[in-house]
């Protein structure tokens, strides 16, 4: 199935400046599968989003639809065809 992944401006250069990329994943895929697929084509974008243990970085949020994935099932959150997924960093600090 086809997922549109929206990219924040702070990471756009990792996708050649694109603010969204189209990602193909198998039917029944979850968010972790999507991020695995992204890693294959955009390895530096992938390591900006997840650490070496595969966890989302503390100040990186990934929304599935309108909900932040940590409030759903984390990276086990199932995806639906055509469902928007968005990376949104928390720009934190004093």
């Amino acid at each position: 199935m086809h997922i549109d992944l929206k990219i924040p401006a702070a990471l756009a250069s990792e996708c050649g400046g694109a603010r969204a990329i189209a990602v193909e994943v198998p039917d029944g895929a979850n968010l972790g599968d999507l991020l695995d697929a992204v890693a294959a084509d955009y390895p530096r974008l992938a390591r900006r989003v997840r650490d070496e243990a595969g966890q989302l970085r503390r100040f990186v949020n990934v929304y599935v639809g309108d909900d932040e994935s940590r409030r759903l099932e984390g990276q086990a959150t199932p995806l639906k065809a055509g469902q928007p997924v968005q990376i949104l960093p928390s720009i934190a600090g004093g």
Binding site: E52, A53, Q55, V60
Partner: protein, 381 residues
């Protein structure tokens, strides 16, 4: 001649250039990445290679830690596509303990080992680079800092159970190569001690015995001391500023000699050996563990030319008004310029000064920057 100073702060990297080390042109915050988020990165580590001019910068960002490289004296920067270092995921989890600042890339889970901050980048012979990392670990690169290998022998040293976290976080913060023996390196840990390898990292020996502590029941432990910095004199003498006194040792397995008697305080962080004059060392004491200001509120350095038996203030050119900013462990350095090395230091108030050894007078490089975490300098022409 021309000189470049690289200043790592709590909010980004700054650079300054000079032809005479008296008048400086400041630039920054320097954007290392293409999207600009490194302008607010924590810059804990800067490595410079005087032989090639290469610069490495370790930055902790919202998007994780990484290492940027410049081969044109900080004009342009590049970063590896793949992560330069990644913890083996088969290691038992080791708690991070506490940090003074939580960091902007704390792991999502507290049950995995992940690279949190890069504290030290040190060039060796050829393409060798070592990295000191939080959590407490040492990494080695043989491709100029593009990819690093985890040093399992140090991580698994039996004394690691005596290591804890300094207030800044648990890290290998100092790496001292031995220019006479490429297989010998000395590393320091806060808190943990000083360890030395003579077989290029395959095995490590604790060499901290004799350094005392005043914050534990056993005042003379074999390991676990809070070591703030180690520097190597050109004759091979090691100097260290601990959480307590400063020490020197010509043979660390034979013990350490307290060299704090003539310093204004036994406490401090930064200590830097002269690159060519044996016995000459600069130190930047702090009043006390419980008062992190310069002694007598006078910002300045202290200099010994007899291996620490006596020290003299080296304050010429610095403000005489009360000053409250301390100098962190990597907040001082020398450019090691042949013939006339320069000294540099930056403070937690965001001021940076430079002095040529022959001049003996400090000149302001920068003022009112963010909290200075590290300073490195090099001759560029």
């Amino acid at each position: 001649m021309a000189y470049l100073v690289l200043i790592g702060t709590r909010k980004g990297l700054f650079t300054a250039t000079s032809d005479d080390r008296r008048t400086w042109r400041l630039d920054g915050p320097v954007i290392l990445d293409e999207d600009g988020f490194t302008a607010v990165a924590e810059i804990y580590a800067i490595g410079t290679d005087p032989d090639t001019g290469r610069i490495l910068v370790g930055a902790a960002t919202w998007f994780g830690p990484s290492i940027w490289r410049s081969d044109d004296y900080a004009a342009t920067w590049s970063e590896p596509i793949e992560a330069p270092m990644a913890f083996p995921q088969d290691l038992p989890y080791r708690p991070l303990d506490f940090s003074e600042t939580a960091g902007i890339d704390q792991p999502e889970s507290d049950q995995t080992n992940t690279v949190k901050r890069i504290w030290q980048l040190t060039f060796g012979p050829g393409d060798r680079v070592w990295a000191g990392v939080e959590p407490t670990s040492l990494w080695t690169s043989d491709d100029g800092g593009q990819t690093f290998t985890f040093n399992r022998a140090l991580w698994e040293h039996p004394e690691h159970t005596t290591w804890a976290s300094g207030a800044g976080g648990p890290a290998v913060h100092t790496i001292v190569p031995d220019p006479t023996d490429p297989k010998t390196q000395t590393v320091a840990i806060s808190s943990g001690g000083i360890y030395q390898t003579r077989d290029d990292g395959h095995s490590w020996t604790g060499i901290t015995k004799g350094i005392t502590v005043d914050y534990a029941p056993d005042e003379t432990p074999d390991s676990g001391q809070c070591i703030h910095k180690v520097t190597r004199g050109t004759d091979g003498t090691l100097y260290t500023q601990s959480h307590g006194p400063a020490y020197r040792s010509t043979r660390p397995d034979g013990g350490w000699t307290d060299i704090s008697a003539n310093l204004p305080s036994k406490f401090g962080f930064a200590i830097v050996a002269h690159p060519t004059e044996a016995g000459t060392v600069m130190a930047w004491p702090v009043t006390a563990s419980m008062e992190r200001t310069p002694p007598d509120r006078q910002v300045g350095a202290w200099r010994t030319e007899d291996s620490g038996d006596t020290w003299q203030p080296w304050h010429n050119g610095l403000p005489t008004d009360p000053y409250f900013g301390g100098i962190l462990r990597d907040g001082a350095c020398t450019d090691a310029a042949p013939g006339d090395p320069g000294w540099y230091f930056g403070t937690r108030c965001g001021d940076v000064w430079a002095a040529a050894d022959s001049d003996g007078r400090w000149h302001q490089v920068a003022a009112h920057l963010p909290d200075v975490l590290c300073v490195r300098a090099m001759e560029t022409a």
